[in-house]
């Protein structure tokens, strides 16, 4: 007997998402992940001052705003031909590390834990299903850590603000690195907090995730998907330090190779957009919204690398950096996020040790009349790319492909599903009236639909059909 399950909203994510699943004999046979929010950032950016992109694009996402400041600053540096000083890179990457820590702690405790732990302190955490398997002592301990963790994610943002001014939506990350100069007082302020956060990750977060994994071991066999992994590289290519985490790499079940950005295309066959073609290079893509499009079901587009869908994020990075080899599944993804938090705290410690106080990395920048640039960076959820064009000193084109666009892409004309869609196919559903499995698998990807569904980009230089 087939049955359709619709979950809308998928809560405990950033933004709005609907999931539409067909099951047959209690097994998932087809899936559509749907982005349910549209703002149109790429169109808003056209005509603005290129410098404003750094603060403006952060407003795409409240939980990962620093990620967009990283990508837009790099895209502008590319367009303006600016090579930041190493001190600028270190300081900027420290801010980025703070965001990884804030994000991973919040995603694990506030978004993931309520899937597996019965938190009884407040009716807000009353679940729809009853698949809770932890012994009371472990359940109570992790419930308490839900609340204890708030202090540490807050402290991660405090570290971010020491260099970045405020969070969310920092002011510090900019062309050339950051806008402030390190001082001994700032360095020790951050270092003392970092020690506390690292201890929390070691002593609470990692044991908690392994305890959950022990009692929900079937999730090591669920939520796998295609197994194609991609990273643009993270905390890599420092002049003196080399690579502290991972280089730009892609892997399929057959091979591992260096990442080459010319292999990225974005498809819109099943997305609410129209364009001259349904498949485009990121720096030439021009689409307009069209909710009446036949077959379309989501605001999320479908990025592909060499025509294939790829998974991005902490698990992809850990595997591609050679530090994790247990497998690809919902539980591996969740464990990877906690292990990566530890890795990031170590990277941040090394970067902090490089800081020379008092170095001013800022200059007065001149805008070119005509330029193009791109900034590719791996952020909390995976590979993030910004592509921009400048004409008459204004932004004439802006294109963003976020990590959640990779993971929650729609299907394409070659018959490939999106990464998360494929991960759900074949999943056995114990109780179709109260399905716990779907939300758990989807949240293992840390969906950020505020990010994935902001798109829309008519470039002024290309003629398109106007819809309104």
């Amino acid at each position: 007997m087939s049955k359709r399950i619709v979950i809308n909203p998928l809560t405990r994510i950033s933004g709005f998402m609907e999931i539409d699943v067909m099951i047959d004999q209690n097994q998932v046979v087809d899936v559509k992940t749907k982005g349910n929010l549209f703002r149109g950032f790429e169109q808003m950016l056209v005509g603005r001052s290129p410098f404003d992109a750094v603060y403006f694009t952060q407003r795409i996402c409240g939980i990962c705003s620093a990620a967009h400041s990283m990508a837009s600053s790099r895209a502008l540096e590319d367009a303006l031909n600016i090579e930041p000083m190493e001190q600028g890179k270190y300081l900027r990457d420290i801010i980025h590390c703070c965001e990884f820590l804030q994000n991973h702690i919040r995603h694990f405790y506030q978004y993931t834990v309520p899937d597996y732990v019965k938190i009884e302190q407040n009716s807000l955490f009353q679940a729809d299903h009853d698949d809770f398997r932890l012994p009371k002592s472990i359940n109570d301990r992790i419930s308490q850590h839900y609340f204890d963790s708030l202090k540490y994610s807050r402290l991660a943002h405090e570290m971010l603000a020491v260099l970045g001014g405020k969070a969310p939506h920092n002011h510090g990350v900019f062309i050339g690195g950051i806008t402030t100069q390190a001082t001994a007082e700032k360095v020790v302020h951050i270092d003392s907090i970092l020690g506390k956060i690292a201890r929390f990750i070691d002593e609470k977060m990692i044991p908690d995730v392994y305890d959950i994994a022990r009692f929900y071991a079937d999730y090591f066999r669920l939520g796998g998907g295609y197994g194609n992994l991609l990273t643009y590289g993270a905390f890599n290519h420092y002049k003196e330090l080399g690579t502290l985490y991972v280089d730009p790499l892609v892997s399929t079940l057959e091979s591992v190779e260096a990442f080459d950005e010319s292999n990225i295309q974005e498809k819109i066959d099943y997305s609410y957009y129209k364009s001259i073609t349904n498949s485009n290079q990121p720096n030439e893509e021009v689409t307009e919204p069209d909710m009446d499009k036949e077959k379309a079901y989501s605001w999320v587009k479908a990025p592909r690398y060499k025509g294939l869908p790829f998974e991005v994020g902490p698990l992809a990075r850990l595997i591609l950096s050679g530090t994790y080899n247990n497998g690809i599944s919902a539980m591996d993804r969740t464990i990877a996020r906690a292990l990566e938090a530890k890795k990031i705290s170590e990277v941040m410690k090394i970067l902090l040790q490089q800081i020379i106080p008092g170095v001013d990395v800022q200059k007065k920048y001149e805008l070119p009349e005509l330029a193009t640039g791109r900034g590719l960076v791996d952020t909390t959820r995976g590979a993030l790319g910004h592509w921009l064009k400048i004409q008459d000193k204004k932004i004439s084109f802006y294109q963003i492909i976020t990590p959640s666009t990779w993971d929650f892409s729609t299907r394409d004309d070659n018959g490939f599903r999106g990464t998360a869609e494929e991960a759900l196919v074949g999943t056995p559903i114990q109780n179709p009236d109260k399905p716990a499995e779907i939300g758990r698998i989807l949240r293992s990807f840390d969906p950020c639909m505020s990010c994935a569904t902001h798109v829309y980009s008519p470039g002024k230089q290309v003629k398109t059909i106007k819809v309104f």
Partner: protein, 301 residues
């Protein structure tokens, strides 16, 4: 000091929030206040305000949740999902509740650019939810720039036709807390005031005076540089950022004294101009955010 909430300006950054917390705690113990129901609705935006609220320190989120309000619905935090989550939202309307809304209301395609869930098999738009919940709420808080006036969601050319909450609830009184995002103290302090003493005193644009009374420029620690005409020429300089496009002179909020994230820093402290994120009209009225010389001749603007 007990009971005194509106501060003399000389008091320290954390003083207001701390006094509110301790007073609330005492009142709860004495049972002079009762926890109220809160519905937290996220609409067309980045969900950055709820993240900022999790950064609350005094009071913190745990205290807020366990001692101040019963949070009945919150897309970012609640365990329930799908229609059972929306059912909780519908049920919460049976009792008295405070409604907090972040994000703008998208009007395009009759609201279909922002679907917040499914109810009885049909899509529930942000537009429908805002109207329905707003009509019955005992108090309404518009939280962050998108909710107070459209904010970044309504930036030119406003592809989703987003508007602030007041536009779809023209007759309803609401407290507006602009900011991108809102500072946790602005929200939690206002909420505490509602619970303890009723509505806080607001200005003619519905902003609580205890947070939004004074121009950033009037309390800026770099004001002496402005007065002496010493201006920064690039980001990273330690002097007045006015000529880089600082919007402190038009933005009313207490960032200079309160500061952010544990009260450790703020945009001007980071050697960057204020971009007016807590002022109505942000972002378009505040753009360009950064100019290297605002005395230049402006064309085509």
């Amino acid at each position: 000091m007990e009971g005194q909430i509106l501060p003399p300006e000389s008091l320290t950054n954390e003083a207001i929030a701390e006094r509110l917390t301790s007073t609330a705690l005492k009142s709860l113990k004495k049972r002079t206040i009762k926890k109220k129901n809160l519905i937290y609705l996220e609409l067309n935006g980045c969900s950055g305000n709820i993240i900022s609220l999790l950064n609350g320190q005094n009071p913190d989120f745990e205290y807020t949740l366990n001692s101040m309000v019963d949070l009945k619905f919150c897309n970012s935090l609640m365990a329930a999902e799908g229609e059972p989550a929306i059912e909780k939202l519908m049920k919460a309307m049976d009792d008295e509740y405070i409604l907090a809304v972040e994000g703008a209301v998208a009007l395009k395609n009759n609201g279909l650019y922002n679907i917040i869930g499914s109810w009885q098999g049909k899509p529930l738009t942000g537009l429908q939810a805002a109207k329905m919940l707003g009509e019955k709420a005992s108090h309404i808080l518009a939280v962050g720039a998108c909710a107070t006036h459209g904010g970044v969601s309504a930036a030119k050319p406003n592809p989703s036709q987003s508007v602030g909450l007041q536009m779809v609830l023209p007759d309803k009184k609401m407290i507006k807390l602009p900011g991108c995002p809102v500072h946790p103290d602005w929200f939690l302090g206002t909420l505490a005031h509602l619970l303890l003493y009723g509505e806080p005193e607001t200005d003619n644009l519905d902003r609580p005076l205890m947070f939004y009374s004074t121009l950033i420029h009037d309390r800026c620690p770099r004001r002496p540089f402005f007065d002496r005409g010493i201006f920064a020429e690039k980001l990273g300089d330690k002097t007045c950022l006015f000529k880089l496009g600082c919007r402190g002179p038009v933005t009313r909020v207490d960032c200079p004294t309160r500061q952010w994230n544990g009260h450790v820093n703020w945009p001007i402290g980071d050697n960057t101009p204020c971009i007016g994120c807590a002022q109505f009209g942000f972002p378009d009225a505040m753009a360009p955010f950064i100019s290297y010389d605002t005395t230049r001749v402006v064309k085509n603007e």
